[in-house]
């Protein structure tokens, strides 16, 4: 998204207006629609600011952010659309492209940016990094680094919801590369076998790292659900209304019937698999630009809201300015925050070592 509406961007409302008429969207107030837009913009600006921090240097000439940085630019409508449907007993777990979901569930961007910087004020006290954001108080269970490894945990969250007798669900997000992991298929089977309210969400951005879907996956991704007797669906992840309309059906079904489903949401990421990865070996600049120009989820939704008279272009601009300022403030906070200490390394390892007065076991827990 450029700062000002640009002549090169074809701002068109979502192609299928019917999704805006779906009850879950038609019932939204103007304020709620603007809020969806704001969340998407906040994610975009956070990601762009973190990208600048990653590629730039700190005052000492060192890196602001270590390791990998998997950015969510282009996929914002998915996290925002899905997380906007969460109730008290709906849970979210995802893989390492986890910043968007974290913002969408309401995590503080200061704590997120500080985590990227490896600071003690980070959401995981600087112990998790970009791939490992968590907010259990917001039903957000990470943030997981191994492709597909989080999906059985998602089934476990759904199991926990059901075991405790709550009407809820778990949304277990993965990329299109994860669908070929064995753990995902084991999770599918368990969820279907035990009627667990788990919705497996495949964010299909077309590439598992640098390998296209055509070169890595046989058949239709979501349709594999049929092998487990599960319902499945597909939708366009560039339209937040469509994401919400589609997911709403499956979430309701999970709540009412405790049934799992697989939903494939077609999307596109603008940045490399991670920022450090070359982005020119497997796709063209033209392809990326085409998506940015014609299918950008924020531009599409802005055009939709303008057409609906929900807000003005000036209001959209103000939201964008505020999101930029928020991301900048997050970076300043992160930069100014202290790192954890060496003494902090061995905290948060065991519940017992962090709660010594309640410790029941004896003996040495650590070996230095």
């Amino acid at each position: 998204m450029s700062k000002k509406p640009s002549a090169t961007i074809e701002q068109k409302p979502a192609a299928n207006a019917a999704h805006g008429q779906a009850p879950v969207n038609a019932s939204l107030s103007k304020g709620q629609k603007i809020e969806l837009f704001r969340q998407m913009v906040r994610i975009r600006r956070f990601e762009e600011r973190s990208h600048r921090a990653y590629t730039g240097k700190n005052a000492n000439g060192g890196s602001n952010i270590g390791g990998f940085l998997h950015l969510y630019n282009g996929q914002e409508a998915i996290a925002v659309g899905c997380c906007s449907l969460m109730g008290a007993h709906d849970h979210v777990i995802t893989a390492y492209r986890d910043h968007g979901h974290a913002i969408a569930v309401g995590m503080d961007t200061k704590a997120l940016m500080a985590e990227l910087y490896g600071k003690v004020t980070g959401c995981s006290k600087g112990k998790g990094g970009s791939m490992h954001f968590f907010a259990p108080a917001r039903n957000y269970w990470g943030g997981h680094g191994i492709v597909g490894g989080q999906i059985p945990l998602g089934v476990g969250l759904a199991y926990g919801v059901k075991y405790k007798g709550n009407k809820g669900s778990a949304m277990a997000f993965m990329g299109d590369g994860a669908v070929n992991q064995g753990a995902v298929h084991e999770a599918y089977n368990l969820a279907a076998l035990w009627n667990l309210p788990c919705i497996f969400v495949i964010e299909n951005n077309g590439y598992s790292m640098g390998t296209s879907q055509a070169r890595s996956s046989a058949g239709e991704l979501a349709k594999r659900a049929e092998g487990y007797g599960m319902a499945w669906g597909m939708c366009d992840g560039h339209d937040v209304y469509e994401v919400r309309a589609t997911m709403d059906k499956f979430i309701r079904r999970a709540h009412e019937e405790s049934k799992p489903a697989v939903v494939e949401i077609r999307t596109y990421r603008y940045r490399g698999h991670s920022v450090a990865d070359p982005d020119n070996t497997y796709r063209t600049k033209t392809e990326i630009e085409d998506y940015r120009r014609t299918k950008d989820p924020i531009q599409v939704f802005q055009a939709t809201l303008l057409a609906e008279d929900v807000f003005t272009a000036e209001a959209a601009e103000q939201i964008d300015e505020a999101a930029r300022a928020e991301a900048e403030a997050a970076a300043e906070f992160a930069d100014a925050s202290p790192y954890p200490t060496v003494e902090d390394i061995q905290k948060d390892v065991y519940w017992e070592s962090d709660n010594p007065t309640e410790r029941k076991s004896e003996g040495r827990l650590f070996f230095n």
């Binding site: 849970h91 777990i93 980070g122 959401c123 995981s124 006290k125 600087g126 112990k127 998790g128 490992h132 968590f134 907010a135 259990p136 108080a137 269970w141 990470g142 943030g143 997981h144 680094g145 191994i146 490894g149 989080q150 999906i151 059985p152 945990l153 998602g154 089934v155 476990g156 969250l157 759904a158 199991y159 926990g160 919801v161 075991y163 405790k164 778990a170 064995g182 753990a183 084991e186 999770a187 089977n189 368990l190 076998l193 061995q346 905290k347 948060d348 390892v349 065991y350 519940w351 017992e352 962090d354 709660n355 029941k360 076991s361 004896e362 003996g363 040495r364 827990l365 650590f366 070996f367």
Partner: protein, 325 residues
Amino acid sequence: MPLIEYREAIRNALAEELTRDPNVVVMGEEVGQFQGAYKVTKGLLEKFGPTRIADTPISEAGFIGMGIGASMLGVRPVMELMFWSFYSVAFDQILNNAANVRYMSGGQINCPIVIRGPANGGTNVGATHSHTPENILAAHPGVKVVVPSTAYDAKGLLKSAIRDNDPVFFLENTILYGEKGEVPDEEYVIPLGKADVKREGRDLTIVTYGRPVIQSLAAAELLAKEHDISVEVVDLRTIRPLDIDTVLASVRKTHRVLVVEEQKPFCGVGAQLTYMIQAEAFDDLDAPIARLCTIDAPAIYSPPVEAEQLPNPQRILKAALALLD
């Protein structure tokens, strides 16, 4: 005191904890209708019903991961691995997810899961089913590892494991399942991380855990009768946390140490123990620390030869005599 089998002691611990805490569930392959591959869970389905005692498909990565996810929400799953050897197909779940989630979340998430099942050789089932992964498990900060040798210990330690808020890996032994031991009717728990001196002695300390405790006690008996050697046998019971203080106290008494373990020698639990003993009690040692392990090869099938690959009373006796020579 009533004499009951090791498997029954485990079953009783499960039943008591299932009764005590509605968040406890038992899951695994064949734990319900089939009554347990080794009959550890016999009768539990009838008593507690299919919501609490759940048969899973043969799908260790899936169901162990599911248990970990459920534990994050406050369920306290006790997951049975039919063999701990199958941990390898759930390795990512056990050692990336269970072991790390508390740390990576900055202490926000707990994982109060127990994974239990047998981990031993000696049953002629070949290399794939004879792994003893306690060293590999215990190498991961964040987890606890328990290896009980007797019915009494198994019951008391499992009850502590189920009440623990950290992930606990509980390694049993198919050869010990039928061994009877004295177990009181009244409730008791044994804290994790507390070693037990199973036999007192003067001349030599054998530090061991699991089935080799039983074999070391047999060897100690022979050494006393035939060689007039007084052996102290220290049963670690828990590998992590580790009660090194009880080990060191015994070393300071006998001044000689033989570590016996059903592990391969390379980077085994014994390697860690011998490092710690020399670091902390060097001046108390009258001889280099000796170690008796499983002979360093994949588990051989051939039944009479497998018995020689593993620790056994005769091998322990020889190692003790060599150390005292």
